[in-house]
């Protein structure tokens, strides 16, 4: 699979994923990988667990659409997105976006584009638990603004429905 997405509860091995993406593809000259991990603090509050919920079916479909958009926009060779769901703890890996291209510029850009897209368009929800109990994480306007840099309007964090 040259472009693929996986939603899973299990952890992932970044070096193994990169190896698979690169295997027998001598036209690849650059690999860019982003990994998102669980912090032990968010907005000053201590975080002991992070629970990730998603919308099975729609999640995969929305990320496939993002991969298609990235393919159309950048000169990239392959890409893989892995996103974990379920209960996670500080230091755990949450998400990986790996992109390959002939030269570094296109994979750097496509990797950031995919993450900006994923933050505001893929149906995942985070619930944090700390010493003061649990709460659902609020969407950030700054994530909408990050996607706007690519000329794509996002209103995910807008207070209106």
């Amino acid at each position: 699979m040259t472009f693929s997405v996986l939603i899973q509860t299990e952890d992932f091995d970044v070096s193994r994923e990169v190896q698979t993406l690169r295997s027998a593809k001598a036209d690849i000259g650059a690999v860019c990988v982003f990994v998102g991990t669980v912090r032990d603090r968010n907005d000053g509050d201590k975080v002991s667990t992070l629970e990730l919920e998603h919308y099975p079916g729609m999640t995969e479909k929305s990320i496939e659409q993002m991969l298609n958009a990235a393919k159309a926009r950048f000169d990239i060779i392959s890409a893989k997105v892995i996103h974990r769901v379920g209960i996670l703890y500080p230091l755990d890996q949450i998400v990986m976006v790996a992109v390959t291209s002939a030269h570094r510029g296109q994979s750097f850009q496509a990797c950031e584009f995919l993450m900006d897209y994923l933050k505001t368009q893929a149906p995942f929800w985070k619930k944090e638990t700390g010493p003061n109990g649990s709460h659902w994480v609020d969407a950030r306007i700054s994530d909408d603004q990050a996607l706007a840099r690519w000329g794509i309007e996002a209103n995910n964090a807008s207070p209106q429905s």
């Binding site: 998102g36 990730l52 659902w136 994480v137 969407a139 207070p159 209106q160």
Partner: protein, 83 residues
């Protein structure tokens, strides 16, 4: 027509409900939302206008004017926070 309703995250918790089959007279998302709010005070609170609620019909995010069809899946959820 029959539709499948799905609720996620804080909406799912507030309603104590993740999936439900529903018989509707509504033709679009706005009418369905109004119908649900009228049906049950729980929905009335959870889906009140002015709250940031996103809607997807058959896995595609859409606005209030999106049309419903027999057997479609309508999901209600708060702004997404993945990544």
């Amino acid at each position: 027509m029959k539709v499948t309703l799905r609720f996620f995250s804080s909406l799912r918790e507030q309603l104590g409900l993740s999936v439900q089959e529903h018989d509707t007279l509504a033709l679009n998302v706005a009418q369905l939302r109004a119908e649900l709010m009228h049906l049950n005070p729980k929905y009335d609170q959870a889906l009140a206008s002015g709250k940031a609620i996103r809607v997807a019909v058959n896995h595609e995010v859409c606005d209030d004017n999106a049309l419903l069809s027999e057997g479609c899946e309508v999901a209600f959820f708060p702004p997404v926070t993945g990544g």
